[in-house]
């Protein structure tokens, strides 16, 4: 780019330059032309002479060995904390797909069965510290598929009713249900997870319901900024959805997602928001409920429990699995041994290296003043 073209303009400019050169030559090489000298002499600045003051980092033994040692120690410290933190997290996981005939939900796994419920019984021999989180997990479900991911209409979801009539093309093939526009359109909304869970503590033969808190399971920004319901028509959300169809797979329209809490409906339904945040990997879990209330705010006490599942969501067709997870979290989130182990390994590696270097240094130390 710089020199490839034919710099004809340079030719004319060169003339000028040569003129000053000429005067110099005509003076027989004598430095008489002071002005010319000023004009031609390159600037003597640190930048043009490539002499900017510079710092030259030198990874000398004096820095690197203690440095590695410190990093190693810090890492081991963090690693231990992470490891212990992760160890302390209690997790209870159960696959309820019902593939095997001896599993509780075997009967429900038949897709033809509607409104099937099954329950999983479990016993806690140790207090399950609170707050306890209830997750559902799916595997081999590609929420991160590109087509699936773009299959939604942001303007619809932000409550713009103009898009209720004409949903975005990206929602295809879930735009219209026999000519009526679907709201919320698209594959993502359509495939919303619709199993529901109820947890009971079995106390002396009676089922004592454990209150499940559906608030605060989605991102704050999703709930408060990104997703908006359409403006109410005559104070009714249902009326705002007038002239639209529910997603084909949904049992109820969007404005009836949560019958118990009218404010938890439409696009502001937290279960919906959790679902709409796409998982990164095909095996994922999503937050379902939190146990923060009543007798169980401090955790689940020792005892027998029953988890009642209303089994609706078909996964066997695409080779998927469903699971339910009870877990508490530490300061670093859910249970994950990876970070703790990794920090411990890297930390010890650093220390080993600093020791090796120390030995090498002690052995091959050059005499002072070698320069």
């Amino acid at each position: 780019m710089a020199a490839s073209c034919w710099p004809a303009s340079g030719f004319y400019r060169e003339k000028k330059r040569n003129c000053s050169a000429r005067t110099a030559i005509f003076d027989g090489g004598m430095m008489k032309n002071k002005e010319g000298e000023v004009a031609n002499r390159p600037d003597n600045t640190a930048f043009t002479q490539q002499r900017l003051p510079a710092w030259q980092p030198m990874l000398s033994a004096g820095i690197v060995i203690p440095g590695f040692l410190v990093i190693g120690l810090v890492f081991i410290g963090i690693g231990v904390a992470l490891f212990l933190g992760s160890q302390s997290i209690q997790v209870l996981e159960s696959d309820y797909t019902g593939l095997n005939s001896n599993t509780p939900c075997y009967e429900c796994s038949d897709a033809s069965k509607k409104n099937c419920t099954c329950s999983i019984e479990f016993t806690l021999t140790k207090q399950f510290d609170g707050p306890v989180f209830l997750y559902y997990g799916l595997s081999n479900f590609f929420q991160n598929h590109r087509k699936y991911g773009v299959s939604r209409d942001y303007y619809q979801l932000s409550g713009d009713t103009a898009y209720f009539k004409n949903p975005s093309d990206s929602c295809s093939p879930y735009i219209y249900d026999s000519g009526v526009p679907i709201v919320p359109c698209g594959a993502a909304a359509n495939s919303m997870f619709n199993d529901s869970f109820r947890l009971y503590q079995l106390v002396g033969g009676t089922k004592k319901p454990v209150p499940l808190d559906g608030k605060g399971i989605s991102w704050w920004t999703d709930y408060n900024i990104v997703f908006r319901n359409p403006p109410l028509v005559n104070g009714s959300l249902a009326a705002a959805f007038n002239g639209t169809a529910k997603p084909v797979n949904w049992a109820k329209p969007a404005y009836e997602l949560d019958t118990s809490d009218p404010s938890n409906n439409g696009f502001m339904n937290e279960d919906f928001l959790v679902w709409m945040r796409r998982a990164a990997l095909p095996d994922f879990r999503k937050l379902y409920r939190r146990i923060t209330q009543g007798d169980y705010a401090a955790g689940l006490p020792v005892g027998n429990y029953s988890l009642e599942i209303s089994y609706n969501y078909p996964v066997i067709g695409f080779g998927g699995r469903k699971k339910i997870v009870l877990s508490n979290v530490s300061w670093m989130g859910g249970k994950n041994m990876f970070l703790g182990v990794a920090y411990l390994v890297i930390g010890s590696l650093c220390i080993v290296m600093s020791l090796v270097m120390l030995i090498v240094y002690a052995k091959y130390k050059f005499p002072e003043g070698d320069s």
């Binding site: 780019m1 710089a2 034919w6 004809a8 303009s9 030719f11 004319y12 040569n18 000429r22 030559i25 003076d27 031609n40 002499r41 390159p42 043009t48 490539q50 002499r51 900017l52 003051p53 510079a54 710092w55 030259q56 030198m58 990874l59 000398s60 033994a61 004096g62 479900f141 590609f142 929420q143 991160n144 590109r146 087509k147 699936y148 991911g149 773009v150 942001y154 093939p173 605060g216 399971i217 998982a279 990164a280 990997l281 095909p282 994922f284 879990r285 937050l287 695409f318 080779g319 877990s327 979290v329 300061w331 989130g333 859910g334 994950n336 970070l339 650093c350 090498v360 050059f366 320069s371």
Partner: protein, 1141 residues
């Protein structure tokens, strides 16, 4: 380009007619047939490339001819047409940016050209038309117009000088803007043209336009009503070139012969052939590898996608059904679009910004050469000149330096040392006082008198005063000279001022004669005036000048003295004079000549002959006839010259010293130490050249010289070919076979005691080697010759013709391993080799500017070559090599996680990163640090590079851009990419990463990977940076800060123009998670750990890489310390890091 167009336009004509006829003043001539107005092009200069109308299409077409731009255009089109994962904006925006910037730049340059053209074309000139003087625009001049030009104006087209305001029918001209020669050149009017231009009826027949500035052959027929047409020959001395400026002459009239694009200036205007650097070849090779990687990635993904989909339930799960259109699509078409989609997804692996960055680096980097004040020469008031910035890094790769001797190794600043008259030696190399005595004394110098006879002495000095083409400088200078004469004080510089000549030897000789009492006063209308020792002025009529040419290697003048004697004085090289004089005279002088030659002086022999009237008349007629010839004029003239210059008698010889350039020896020594082989290619004779080589320490005392010259060939008395064969084999055995294997180390036997060889060959022998008998032996000789040369420390080729110089360069350039060659020279005779070599360096010397104009870089002095190669070249190479490798690396580890992600998202072309990140990664987040690095890095301080020349060997043979380092960088990129992806993958095995139990989605995943990526590649560069200026700090920390700022900004606002607010608060949310922080820190550290280890444990690469004592460096403010290359463990605890002030 221009030339192509010209050939296209005029090529046909040129073939048909090889001369053109011009009617002076458009007047029909009597003797000729019907006047057909010949068609010539108008006098408009078009140097611009574009017009307003064709700028856009033409510029776009030219830009998209570049393979990289075309590639990105294709990617962009694919994105527009096919449903691809990323929007066309991601690749369209950078492409648009690059194209626009380039177009604006080229448009601006073209606008400047338009402006310059306009200035030239609209310039008002005076034309004589039908007896009236008409002012018209320069572009409307037609061939045949009679144009008036006044002093200090430039000629609007190529003119034949008809009339001058000077009495002696001459005019003075400088061609500074054409070839840079700033001396005044004398041009002559056509003899015998009438004073009244109105009544002049003449035609000019001349050759078709050709670009050679110094060649012109033509003939003028002057018709007079009563006589036969008179014919006058026209040569370059009659031709005034467009672009030259009229000096010292009030006004002239000339007739236009070549106009507009046919002028010699315009024909010389063509762009030089593009030289490509080795780095660029490496880039292209790497590009190909990456293209293969890209294709195979896309192919792998496409294949796996269909394999994966063929399993039950994967192709179309109920939650993600296909549209009707997708179902209907033809399967192979679908596969093809999938393939294209993957290509688009991974196309960032070849970044459009790399080309921009490389070009910016080259363009901006070259300023450091022009800015370097070490290259500034106070004498000529100029610094270095960069004609192309494409070859900066090639300066660090030079393996062979071909240097001219005169003006390059030596100063071309001639000083008269001694002379030898009739076998007696006259030395004059003394202090000023003695010099004064020579100049002041009116009477004969007694010392001179003792040796040769006065007659001979004066004849010799007269010969020196007359046999030359020196001009005395006009006007005021004459006065100074005479004043000084009266004062009796002539400081050498003042004297020098007075004379202008094409060759400094001539000035030296005239000055020499002046020292002995004979002063040349000037040439006044064919009369030469000299002042003799008695202070009388002698007048000689100059009859003919038999010009110097490199084949004859001599020149002569024929003068007629006041007494009526016609004398021929001839001076020339000994070899060309000796055969033409009586042999008994030769013997006396030969001793001196040879002794002087071995001392490194340039010797010339002076001879004379007296012509009787009949002889002169014959000679005169022959010369005139030859000068009039239209065809083969050169050859005919040569033949006459050779005829005339016979039977002379030798008077004496002169010795002129051409002093070595400043620091020539140091420079040569440094180059040799740097592993560069230096070849001296000179037209000079062997003895002189050899002594120069010794003086420059190219040959050492211990060096065994292998000679292959005409003399050694004729030793044995056998046929030359046989002897040549024999010698070649013998030398080959000596230098190649018996030599210790060179592979043991790059370091040549600098310290070790093994024998060094120097090789000497002359032009005649070289042509024997190169063009020997047509049998197969020719190629064998050539390879033998090459092998010998390559094993010699220095090679001297003397008696070379310019073309032979280029031949040698070409031969070495094309030899095995295709080494990088550099030619350096200052004269027109070096142009061919400057153009031939990979890098051509011109020295802004005394022999005009042709070398400078044709060079890639121009420097004022030879000594600057050392810094240019050892410091600038080395640094540029390291910088650009690092730039290229780093660019490929950073894009590999950028795209690899995206590739790996395909395995986890059902091969659905889901991008891992947000579109904004994809677009900005190469443009904003990671581009500035590497640009700053590639402009400012000094991995070794400039002083150390200059002090320790052998450091240059470390980057020899494209060391850091070979496949080894490339593999290293690629492995590093793959390692980092794998680490980034799988590190985060392990973290996401449980996506509940916040302490409130909420889970992260796919954009959080991508953002974590991207954050690790940006930090790692930037810190990797920070680790590589050995020279942290404030700019480095600013851009490295600045771009990291910018990334963080941008991420907050991008995720902090609901952007109305976006379809999906997928990154909204993702970054902020990520930072609220401790796990995310910890994994980012862990992965950055883990990726850089091997790098730190390598840095710490690296073995020293050369014994010269010593560390300077840090204590000393803080003094002086300008010194900078050299970062130590010793491994960490060899360093003491005390020398941790130091800041250089």
């Amino acid at each position: 380009m221009l030339r192509r167009r010209l050939n296209h336009l005029f090529g046909g004509d040129e073939k048909r007619v090889d001369s053109r006829t011009i009617y002076v003043g458009h007047r029909q001539c009597p003797g000729t047939e019907a006047f057909i107005a010949p068609k010539f092009c108008d006098n408009r200069i078009v140097s611009s490339k574009y017009t307003v109308w064709n700028f856009l299409p033409k510029n776009l077409f030219e830009q998209f001819r570049r393979i990289a731009n075309f590639y990105f255009l294709i990617i962009f089109l694919v994105q527009v047409i096919v449903d691809t994962p990323t929007s066309p904006v991601t690749s369209g925006l950078p492409l648009f940016f690059v194209i626009t910037v380039t177009a604006i730049k080229q448009g601006y340059e073209d606008w400047l050209r338009h402006k310059a053209d306009k200035e030239v074309n609209k310039y008002l000139v005076t034309v004589l038309e039908d007896g009236r003087r008409i002012r018209k625009e320069s572009e409307r001049i037609k061939v045949g117009d009679v144009v008036e030009v006044v002093e200090d104006e430039t000629f609007p087209c190529d003119l034949i000088l008809l009339q001058s305001s000077r009495d002696d029918d001459t005019c003075f001209v400088t061609t500074a803007s054409l070839d840079g020669e700033s001396n005044h050149k004398t041009h002559y009017t056509v003899p015998d043209t009438e004073k009244d231009l109105e009544s002049l009826t003449a035609t000019i027949e001349c050759e078709q336009p050709q670009p050679d500035l110094y060649k012109f052959v033509g003939r003028m027929h002057i018709y007079r009503s009563d006589q036969d047409p008179a014919v006058r020959s026209l040569g370059p001395e009659n031709l005034l070139l467009k672009g030259a400026t009229l000096k010292n002459t009030k006004k002239i009239y000339g007739v236009a012969v070549y106009t507009g694009m046919e002028t010699k200036m315009a024909l010389n205007y063509q762009g030089k052939s593009q030289k490509r650097s080795a780095v660029e070849k490496s880039i292209n090779a790497f590009l190909l590898v990456y293209l293969c990687i890209l294709l195979s990635k896309a192919l792998v993904c496409t294949t796996l996608k269909y394999v994966w989909q063929s399993r039950d339930g994967q192709d179309e799960p109920w939650y993600n059904q296909k549209t009707q259109k997708e179902k209907d699509a033809y399967k192979f078409l679908k596969m093809f679009t999938d393939f294209l989609s993957f290509m688009v997804l991974f196309n960032f692996i070849i970044p459009v910004s790399m080309y921009v960055t490389v070009e910016m680096q080259k363009f901006l980097g070259s300023f450091f050469i022009t800015w370097d004040k070490d290259f500034f020469d106070p004498e000529i008031q100029e610094g270095a000149l960069v004609n192309t910035s494409d070859l900066n890094e090639e300066l660090g790769q030079v393996e062979y330096v071909f240097t001219d001797k005169t003006g390059t190794l030596t100063q071309n600043n001639m000083e008269f040392i001694e002379c030898c008259i009739d076998g007696f030696q006259y030395k004059n190399r003394d202090s000023c006082s003695e010099l004064d005595s020579f100049c002041v004394t009116d009477g004969p110098v007694s010392k001179l008198h003792e040796k040769a006879g006065r007659e001979k002495e004066e004849l010799f000095l007269r010969a020196l005063c007359l046999c030359h083409t020196v001009q005395v400088k006009e006007a005021g200078d004459m006065e100074t000279v005479s004043e000084d004469q009266i004062d009796g004080l002539l400081p050498p510089t003042e004297q020098q001022k007075g004379f202008i000549a094409s060759s400094p030897d001539e000035v030296a000789l005239v000055m020499g004669a002046m020292k002995y009492g004979f002063t040349f006063l000037g040439l006044d209308s064919k009369t030469m005036k000299i002042r003799n020792r008695q202070n009388d002025v002698e007048l000689y009529e100059l009859l003919h000048v038999l010009n110097f040419d490199p084949v004859r290697r001599r020149m002569s003048v024929i003068v007629r003295s006041k007494a009526g004697e016609t004398l021929l004085f001839c001076k020339g090289a000994d070899s060309s004079i000796f055969p033409r004089v009586r042999s008994e005279e030769v013997d006396r002088i030969r001793v001196h000549v040879e002794r002087n030659a071995t001392e490194g002086y340039r010797t010339l022999c002076v001879a004379y002959k007296q012509l009787c009237t009949e002889e002169y008349v014959e000679v005169d007629a022959k010369l005139r006839e030859a000068r009039l010839a239209l065809q083969d004029r050169e050859e005919k003239l040569m033949a006459v010259y050779n005829q005339v210059e016979t039977g002379m008698s030798l008077i004496g010889a002169t010795a002129v010293e051409d002093r070595l350039q400043e620091e020539a020896a140091e420079t040569m020594e440094a180059l040799q130490e740097a592993g560069i082989k230096v070849w001296v290619l000179t037209g000079d004779k062997m003895e002189t050249a050899k002594s120069t080589c010794y003086a420059c320490r190219l040959f050492q005392r211990g060096t065994e010289l292998l000679e292959l010259t005409v003399r050694t060939l004729e030793d044995g008395g056998r046929k030359r070919e046989e002897r040549l064969h024999e010698l070649l084999l013998e030398y080959h055995k000596k230098a190649v076979q018996d030599a210790p294997p060179a592979k043991l180390g790059v370091r040549r036997s600098w310290v070790t005691a093994s024998q060094e060889y120097g090789f000497i060959i002359d032009g005649a022998t070289l042509s024997l080697v190169l063009n020997s008998s047509p049998e197969a032996s020719s190629t064998r000789y050539k390879s033998l010759f090459l092998q010998i040369c390559q094993n010699c420390t220095a090679v001297l080729c003397c008696r070379m013709a310019p073309l032979q110089k280029a031949q040698i360069v070409k031969m070495v350039k094309n030899s095995k391993g295709s080494p990088i060659t550099l030619s350096i020279g200052d004269g027109a005779n070096d142009v061919s080799m400057i153009l031939e070599a990979h890098v051509g360096i011109g020295i802004k010397g005394k022999e005009g500017r042709q070398a400078v104009r044709n060079s890639d870089y121009a420097i004022p002095k030879l000594k600057h070559l050392k810094k240019l190669l050892l410091a600038h070249g080395h640094l540029y190479y390291v910088r650009i090599a690092h730039l290229v490798q780093y660019f490929f690396y950073k894009n590999l580890c950028f795209i690899l996680p995206q590739f790996l992600y395909q395995f986890f998202c059902g091969y659905s072309q889901q991008p891992l990163y947000d579109a904004a990140y994809l677009t900005m990664y190469n443009i904003c987040f990671t581009s500035m640090p590497i640009l700053a690095y590639s402009l400012l890095e000094q991995h070794i301080a400039i002083e150390s590079l200059m002090d320790t020349a052998s450091l240059y060997r470390e980057v020899a043979k494209n060391a850091t851009l070979r496949w080894g380092p490339f593999l290293y960088w690629t492995t590093l990129g793959i390692f980092h990419g794998l680490l980034f992806f799988f590190g985060v993958r392990c973290l996401f095995s449980n996506p509940a990463l916040q302490d409130n139990g909420q889970v992260f989605g796919n954009w959080s995943y991508g953002t974590i990977v991207f954050t690790v990526l940006v930090f790692t590649v930037t810190l990797k560069l920070a680790l590589d940076t050995r020279h942290w200026t404030w700019i480095n700090h600013l851009v490295i920390w600045g771009s990291l800060a910018f990334y963080v700022f941008f991420s907050f900004f991008w995720g902090g606002i609901i952007w109305p123009f976006l379809q999906q607010q997928r990154l909204y608060f993702v970054f902020a949310n990520m930072l609220s998670s401790v796990s995310a922080w910890l994994v980012i820190i862990l992965l950055i550290l883990l990726s850089l750990l091997p790098e730190i280890l390598v840095l710490v444990l690296r073995k020293p690469r050369g014994p010269h890489r010593r560390q300077k004592n840090p204590g000393q460096s803080s003094v002086g403010g300008q010194q900078s310390t050299q970062a130590s290359a010793r491994p960490l463990l060899m360093r003491t605890f005390s020398d941790e890091s130091n800041t250089v002030r």
